[in-house]
Symmetry: none
Subunit: 217 residues, 4 copies
């Protein structure tokens, strides 16, 4: 391998090390207690090195957030590709992979830490808006396709919002309190909601049914 190529590889690798270090440091100590020192410690590098690979701490933080976000995006895309073309299957797969991510509790926590700061960080906000817009568009599209296949009429905007915010709401709850419910439970509920939406649920999870033997006799 050419020297230049090798060097480039090292640069990328070191940047990755620092990004990983950032996420790990935040995971362990929180956002406020993560200093350049703790980040470099986690990355196994010396303090001054950050300047070689990033313009400063702020850029590194942004890149760490970007890394988190794009990793999630890619995970989801991969999971979707694997289940083929059926829109409902794709939505179910996206749901499952979302909560599989919640099992990596540390990363999720860091995600929330970033979200807590994004409001005052234009770059982060832009990045987040961009990805969420695309995500919601995709969800809405899949819902529309699934409905069309079944000859159903759905308020897809409403359903897409509900879906996306349910996912986030359950993820948020898992971050804030790991003992309130499990990722599996959350996954089941959302998948149940999806199936129910299209009238395909065998067990109508979240829906009420009339108690047997009370009014029916």
């Amino acid at each position: 391998m050419a020297v230049a190529a090798k060097r480039t590889k090292t640069i990328i690798a070191r940047r990755q090390d620092l990004i990983r270090g950032t996420i790990q440091s935040i995971a362990r100590r929180g956002f406020a207690n993560s200093t350049v020192q703790t980040i470099c410690d986690e990355a196994g590098l010396s303090r001054g090195l950050i300047g070689h690979y990033f313009k400063g701490k702020d850029e590194l933080l942004l890149e760490a957030f970007r890394s988190l976000v794009t990793e999630a995006d890619e995970d989801t895309r991969r999971a979707i590709r694997e289940v083929g073309e059926d829109p409902l299957q794709q939505l179910l797969a996206a749901t499952v992979v979302s909560f599989r991510r919640s099992e990596q509790r540390e990363k999720s926590t860091v995600w929330l830490a970033f979200w807590g700061t994004a409001r005052w960080n234009p770059e982060m906000q832009r990045l987040n808006h961009h990805l969420y817009a695309r995500y919601r568009r995709w969800v809405q599209g899949r819902l529309a396709a699934a409905a069309a296949e079944r000859g159903l009429e759905i308020d897809t905007r409403r359903a897409a919002l509900t879906y996306a915010q349910m996912i986030d709401g359950f993820a948020l709850g898992l971050i804030m309190d790991k003992d309130a419910y499990t990722p599996q439970e959350a996954s089941d509920i959302v998948c149940g909601w999806l199936l129910d939406l299209f009238g395909e649920s065998p067990k109508r999870g979240g829906k009420a049914r009339v108690k047997r033997g009370k009014d029916d006799d």
Copy 2:
């Protein structure tokens, strides 16, 4: 008594001023850029005064979070009391008041900022767990009561989780992107979900219906 009362009141008032200042400062500058100076500026007090009313900045932050949390709690209780004893009406009122809170965008943002740090702050975490546990218990109880009234059988744990996380998910979405949907929309969706759960919804909002003229005729 007069003097002592006045002093006591002043102390309480000053503490409130500082708490308000904290929230305002975080709302304007973010968590990371809120210093004792900016907080005292917002509160209209001098820098050194913080030591008279709180043990330190950390305690003040915790109290500010507590204030946010208990204010929300009290708002909700008041709203519930106002609609009387009907469990479904209470849940609907709680929903409405939740999203009315989202309209105060600044406070919500601060809330998220606190959540982003709560994971590494045992006190905050304890406070949050306590309130959420009570909240979910209450939701579950109301759902159970509403179901019982109607002779319906519901998985109340599942429904309570869904309800609580939907609320949070929609609130989170409003904080992260004020243009994706309105609080009103979110409120409608969740209220619709509640009504649908009990089979009372006239317009079946998020639910699919079979398209007219396709299978029918």
Copy 3:
């Protein structure tokens, strides 16, 4: 004295302390080795205090330079006032006071240190230009007045430049090498030059005279 006035006085005093500390630190260690720490040490204050009184180190350095420059200006004005209205006497007094300043070797050295950086510091440059322009104008005016009194015709621009640069040249020489000549010598030479210019010198210092007994007899 009112509290506010007292405080203002303290502020001014502390700023002066820091300015003095800056000059002293540069005098002892040079420009490059003067840090905020050494400056505050010389001023007898703690490191962080600089932020209370100046926007940063750069501002403090500029103010120290300004202090040096205006002090020199005021010294000269005072000396001039004391000798009355005669233009030649004023120029002689200005000369004497200039070299009296050179006796404070430390300050002069610091002056040169600042000059060595002024080229890349727009503020310092502006300040310096302003004062020098005024200074040269004043010299030229006094020379013109002295010439007019005596009915002499002088190229005042040329004479003013010569005077001003001689002063600076001798001052510079004293800074660079304290053993080459004394301030007194320099003072005598420049005063001699002035007197000679107006034909008033009893002993014609720097001027050649024909050796006795060579051409005369």
Copy 4:
């Protein structure tokens, strides 16, 4: 021999490159903002290379100063040689070449930057003292010779000091403010002073003359 010679030459050439880079970097950014990086950039070399050719940054700075100083010395010697043996002609040539150097404004500025630090750098100071002592001795010798040729009696110490400090004073003025006067003007004044000293000036530049029509009638 070929290889060794080539290497030696390369080393010398590289050292020269670095010295030139140092002067250029200081000229562009000032002393305080010249780092090993900026110097090597200007020299077209990589950062780490400095250690191969100099013991460290300090040595390089010293060598750059030495280069400036010896270059000036050699320029002057060459100019003197070219005008032959007449002492006054030599002094005039030295004067002219001094102000020709002032036309290279960047180098002069760097010179002053070094002077601003020399006080705290024993090596620089020694170097400077040595050269100035020799320079003043030479000036004094030429003045004495010129006076002897003409049968004039001169205080040569005084005249040599005046000459040397006038040169420096005018050079300093040109560095500090390029618009106050031109190198040509300065050169004329000093040459005029020299000629006048030996009673050879056709136009008695800086000297006063009695106005016509006042005492003459």
